[in-house]
Symmetry: C2
DNA sequence: TATTATAGTGAACGAAAGGTCACCTGTCAA
DNA sequence: TTGACAGGTGACCTTTCGTTCACTATAATA
């Protein structure tokens, strides 16, 4: 049947939920944005909540597939400058990719209402990043690039400020460029402080 | 007249808006939680949006009165341990005070919808804290307690991770104790790294 | 005491919400 | 050719929303 309407509904839902929240979104507008009428949506989902659940499942699955398992860990940089470069690549992607932005906003808006959104939010905003950089920093310490220290603590100290500025970009997109520059400055400050040469 | 109903409405609105968001809150429930009937609220506010505006004005005024001006800056600690102590005092207050928690949640939920909420959110979550600790760290550097460095950068590196864990407490209150311990560990890590004795 | 403003009630209203249903239409398999 | 079905339409239903209004009780004021 070549039917991608279901996927298009989920895409539109992500867009509207991330902007106006679940409660602030209505099926009429959502349908209209797809060029169909409200009842058409109910051919694909049995309720508004079903759309929400499907969207959340999709996000959870996506996160699991891309960041959930150890095999998706990025390579350990072989220099301090490599850490900065890798960081900036990831940051530039994450603050410019519309779908990623909307995912973060959605999790921000629904974290207090839905337990699964809450858990995914914590992964997205906190533990996912620290886990990833714990691994990276442990590797860099082994290579003698970073001062020996608790890699988890360093990862937390490194990723939390970056995460804060990513949130700023979501909140005030016009500050994105400035925030990226700030992240790079922070990253360089970090390698200066924790690099083994200091 | 002894009429505090207006204030009670605002308090209830803070509670409901911070839990369910503006769109997810209805006047019936809000009135009921105060033991009055829906139309009674309209004796004090002409619309739901008027309640929102009054609440936001109150929050903005409160923030301005308590954190807005330089005279409210905390004293500069006279030791590294003093920094940790002061930090933990502030943190324990901010993660346990119901009103402060609800304020943060509300700003989190409405930051994408309302420009003034957005600006206050940035102050609350980012610039307010960094500004405050920029002043503190500059003072501590003058006293020779901290290594000479850019105090604004240090303030950012110090407050952003703490802020991230405060957000975690808002999202998952059952992790509050653990998060507080993590903040203390991070604070001690920070003074170890940046203290002038290192 | 008479008056008047205040705070609250309860019924009602129109709009908008989520959801249902009978119906239409094009596609594909038997 | 026919029948089944997926996908879409438009009218309609019920509930809930924010809001209004006539009315009442109360307490201060003139």
């Amino acid at each position: 049947m070549a039917n991608d309407t279901k996927e298009r509904i989920l895409a539109a839902a992500l867009e509207m939920f991330s902007q106006n929240g679940y409660a602030g979104t209505n099926i009429r507008e959502l349908s209209a944005s797809l060029g169909l009428v409200k009842s058409g949506v109910y051919k694909h989902f049995e309720s508004k909540e079903a759309i929400w659940n499907a969207l959340l499942n999709q996000m959870i699955a996506y996160y699991g597939a891309h960041f959930g398992s150890p095999e998706h860990l990025p390579p350990v940089p072989d220099s301090l400058e490599g850490l900065v470069t890798m960081t900036m690549q990831m940051v530039k992607f994450t603050v410019h990719d519309e779908k990623v932005i909307m995912t973060r906003k959605l999790l921000t808006l629904e974290q207090f209402r839905d337990v699964r959104a809450r858990e995914l939010a914590t992964k997205h905003f906190l533990t996912g990043l620290t886990d990833m950089f714990t691994h990276i920093f442990a590797g860099m310490m082994e290579q003698g690039l970073l001062r020996r220290d608790d890699p988890a603590m360093l990862a937390f100290a490194y990723t939390a400020p970056i995460s804060a500025l990513i949130h700023l970009c979501d909140r005030e997109p016009e500050k994105t460029e400035k925030a990226i520059a700030q992240i790079e400055a922070f990253s360089r400050h970090f390698v200066k402080v924790y690099g083994s040469l200091s």
